[in-house]
């Protein structure tokens, strides 16, 4: 069971109260971009065994989108943060680095 704390309403929401939104921090490539960039934006997604940054929506709760960092293998949750974050907060990145020294970073 996966439990994520919604940064907007503070509820510790169980997975079935949430809607998954896939990989977080994607850079959008729209009209005018190269076919390769657009294809990568549209289809190519990370699928790591380990630390992953994701979008989630508190669908049955406050309705807001937020971001989460968790381990895909153990379901350990490192933290959640508002969707209006261009990149993961520094303290969260440091926390993950301390726990997973082999981790190569979020980009």
């Amino acid at each position: 069971m996966l439990i994520l704390e919604c940064p907007y309403c503070g509820v510790k929401a169980e997975e079935t109260e949430l809607q998954p939104g896939g990989e977080a921090h994607l850079k959008r490539f729209g009209p005018g971009s190269s076919p390769e960039d657009f294809e990568a934006y549209m289809f190519a997604r990370k699928n790591p065994k380990g630390v992953h940054f994701e979008r989630w929506r508190h669908a049955y709760g406050c309705g807001k989108w937020f971001l989460a960092a968790r381990c895909t293998a153990t379901l350990e949750v490192f933290g959640t943060y508002p969707a209006q974050s261009p990149e993961p907060p520094a303290d969260l990145v440091n926390k993950i680095k301390a726990k997973r020294p082999e981790w190569k970073g979020w980009k």
């Binding site: 509820v11 510790k12 169980e14 049955y60 807001k64």
Partner: protein, 183 residues
């Protein structure tokens, strides 16, 4: 003017807890960020409460204001007063970025009462009822549909969409079956 009627005509089930469909209840969805000038006065004018803190519900007798999300409030008041309250909100917030809508007839409301009323909800919602603070308004999932509930007066009040009122009465009835109490 047509008389307002609730979704299930006041259906009742007596199980290990009592499930009652109540209403019609007046409800206004008010969407605005808390820093919108005049918002607090508008809410006070409509239901007599202040702006509730995160996940809280403030009451002034039978009128209330609940925190639904960082930019959404649920106002509860007698059904007959919704029109007047809406007009007051529209006047108080004129020119501001907000939205206020009468959702009374889009909702169904249930009371779940009795010593073990909590168990009826525990079986249906993935919510930690023990973690609820006094006065908390919890939005969650009731089996397969969205619902919001709060505790008080010997039980819980549950608000769902009117279109799923029959479904929710069904799952509440099932959950409250005598003999199906949690240990």
């Amino acid at each position: 003017m047509a008389e307002p009627v609730s979704a299930l005509g006041g259906a009742v089930f007596e199980g290990f807890a009592t499930v009652r469909e109540i209403g019609p209840l007046g409800m206004i969805t008010l969407r605005a960020k808390p820093d919108v000038p005049g918002l607090e006065a508008a809410v006070r004018g409509a239901v007599g409460t202040g702006l509730p803190a995160r996940r809280q519900m403030d009451w002034a007798k039978d009128r209330g204001c609940g925190w639904m999300s960082p930019d959404e409030y649920l106002l509860i008041l007698p059904h007959a007063e919704v029109g007047r309250a809406l007009a007051g909100i529209e006047a108080a917030l004129k020119g501001q970025h907000f939205l206020a809508v009468d959702v009374s007839d889009a909702r169904a409301v249930f009371r779940i009462e009795g010593e073990k009323a909590d168990q009826v909800l525990r079986k249906l919602a993935p919510a930690d009822l023990d973690a609820m603070a006094p006065g908390e308004l919890r939005r969650s999932r009731i089996a397969q549909v969205a619902g919001a509930f709060w505790a008080g007066e010997g039980g819980y009040t549950l608000v769902v969409f009117r279109s799923v009122a029959g479904y929710v009465m069904g799952v509440l009835t099932h959950s409250a079956q005598p003999g199906s109490e949690l240990a």
